[in-house]
């Protein structure tokens, strides 16, 4: 006897990067359809941007996302510099890449922690967030802020990374590499994590092309797309690194891509630091006199994928039109493919697999009986449902001879 159930996940929490409501339609345990409602916190940033000067827009777009707060200024700087034909100094390029990669590390660590929590591995959550802290401390040392660093401007960066700070950064990176080894080992070798994430929420290569998904979501399905490599900007063409891909397209592949990308990020930062040591301190900006008429297509690879900014300039000191596309805008739509046919317990981790930063599902998700409208399961129980499955698998694994 099956019961049709509607499970809403979302919509609203101040910690959520993009508030949205997911309605999971379930037949018994199996998700049969998914719909979403967005726009609960539409801030009209594209429109606001038209009323700000180019300098001010940086602070505005930095506040689009609280976690990857530097990726939007990065793409916007690329767009405006394309319009004005500005080439920034090498030192500024290295600093930009260092900030971008430090951000990727802390964003991926945050994701690993949350994914661990959803699976019932709270130790992973504690570890990952503990290892994330020193990275945020580095940001505080470099920029004065743990988040929203205000490092970018047209023609360069606002603050230098002086040589004496490089020693401290290297030390944190050395520690981090060991911690990442530990974390990667714990996640990749755990048979229960394999059981919970392998073959779950699969996106095929064709799905990814159809939905134009980007970032780790696309790379986990075997598409080698990364703006840092394809359309090189900042210091990425000046250092050695490789694009990480995986083939299977399930949640495990997404975790694998993110964990291995952290090693690449550490390596990029270390190379950039070596270059910084050779350069003259303080040479971080070029003079910008005017932004001429024209259009600019700015791209940057955020932790979640390609950020795209389209800026139209009419020759005044503020953009005539500023279109912004964040990576989750295309990645979230893939749930239509990845969630259907999954159990509710697996849907939780599938939704998290794309890293849409909904940190607070437990506060928001409530399951209703679709017929009577009676609540049958709240958010905490949903996550407990997912954790219970892990627990069951764990004990089953132990019992195996």
């Amino acid at each position: 006897m099956s019961m049709k159930t509607l499970i809403p996940i979302g919509p609203y929490h101040p910690l959520q990067e993009e508030p949205e409501l997911f309605k999971l339609y379930c037949d018994g345990e199996i998700v049969t359809d998914i719909q979403w409602v967005t726009g609960y916190n539409h801030r009209g940033i594209e429109k606001l941007s038209e009323s700000k000067t180019y300098e001010q827009v940086f602070f505005l777009v930095e506040r689009i996302c609280g976690i990857c707060s530097t990726s939007h200024p990065f793409a916007f700087a690329n767009a405006v510099e394309e319009i004005a034909g500005i080439e920034v100094t090498d030192r500024a390029k290295y600093i930009r890449s260092i900030i971008g990669e430090l951000e990727r590390i802390h964003s991926h660590l945050l994701w690993v922690g949350l994914a661990g929590h959803f699976l019932g591995y709270n130790t992973v959550f504690m570890w990952a967030w503990k290892y994330r802290e020193p990275v945020l401390d580095l940001f505080e040392m470099i920029s004065g802020n743990r988040n929203s660093y205000a490092m970018f401007k047209v023609g360069g960066v606002r603050r230098d990374i002086e040589n004496y700070k490089i020693v401290a950064i290297r030390k944190v990176l050395d520690d981090l590499r060991k911690k990442t080894d530990l974390l990667t080992g714990a996640v990749m070798d755990d048979p229960v994590i394999h059981a919970r994430t392998k073959g779950v929420g699969i996106l095929t290569r064709q799905d990814v092309i159809d939905y134009a998904a980007v970032g780790p979501t696309a790379r986990a399905s075997g598409l080698e797309i990364d703006v840092r490599k394809d359309d090189p900007y900042a210091a990425y063409p000046l250092v050695n690194w490789k694009v990480i891909t995986s083939k299977t397209g399930d949640v495990f592949a997404k975790a694998e891509v993110r964990l291995l990308e952290m090693y690449e990020s550490i390596s990029i930062i270390e190379q950039c630091l070596s270059h910084l040591e050779k350069e003259k301190e303080g040479d971080i900006t070029v003079k910008v006199t005017e932004i001429p008429e024209g259009t600019g297509n700015g791209r940057a690879e955020a932790p979640r994928g390609e950020v795209f900014h389209f800026v139209v300039s009419d020759g005044t000191n503020s953009p005539a039109r500023h279109k912004i596309r964040a990576p989750s805008y295309v990645n979230i739509a893939t749930f239509k493919k990845s969630c259907i046919g999954q159990t509710i317990a697996d849907a939780t981790i599938t939704l998290a697999g794309v890293d849409p930063c909904y940190c607070c599902t437990e506060r928001m998700a409530v399951a209703y009986d679709a017929g009577s409208g009676k609540q049958i399961m709240n958010g905490r129980e949903l996550i407990e449902n997912s954790m219970a499955l892990t627990k069951k698998l764990k004990s089953a694994h132990k019992e195996r001879p």
């Binding site: 159809d210 797309i225 297509n297 389209f310 279109k323 596309r325």
Partner: protein, 151 residues
């Protein structure tokens, strides 16, 4: 600047539909086309030429409504902007969502914010202001005024 193969190809296939080609550099090309040829050209880029749809940007200008469809060929880092100008009074254009899902949300968004009608779109419901915005009021049009501004 040497001639770009993709532009040659487009000119060969859709000669009468192409109005203007602007090559900024090898990685940034804008092609202005007639609106009714959009499905053909977008289909060619997506199916035959290996392009990925990034997003579309609508603009409200003196010429009317303009849309830039941004396509990317990732292995070259090329961003190809397909530019159309739509009628001021009754802006409408064929939807691309039946070809690829990636344009579904952005077309809904442009319909909602600019009032551009996408023909044969599977679902043009409001995307970002469901249930709390007046019908027929388009906030990203230039003539739009907030209640404070109108006072």
């Amino acid at each position: 600047m040497e001639k770009d193969p993709i532009i040659e190809k487009l000119k060969e296939e859709f000669n009468t539909s192409i109005l203007e080609v602007t090559v900024k550099n090898q990685k940034r090309i804008t092609v202005s086309i007639k609106p009714d040829s959009l499905p053909g050209i977008a289909g060619y880029l997506y199916k035959n030429a290996g392009f990925r749809f990034i997003i579309a940007s609508a603009l409200h200008t003196k010429k009317g409504f303009e849309i830039h469809y941004h396509f990317s060929r990732d292995n070259e880092g090329l961003v190809l902007n397909i530019h159309v100008i739509l009628d001021k009074k009754d802006p409408q254009i064929e939807s691309l969502s039946n070809m690829f899902n990636a344009s579904n949300w952005i077309e809904r968004e442009m319909h909602e914010l600019f009032g551009i009608n996408f023909l044969n779109h599977p679902n043009q419901d409001k995307l970002i202001s469901e249930g709390n915005w007046a019908e027929g009021v388009y906030p990203y049009r230039k003539e739009f005024k907030t209640p404070e501004e109108e006072r």
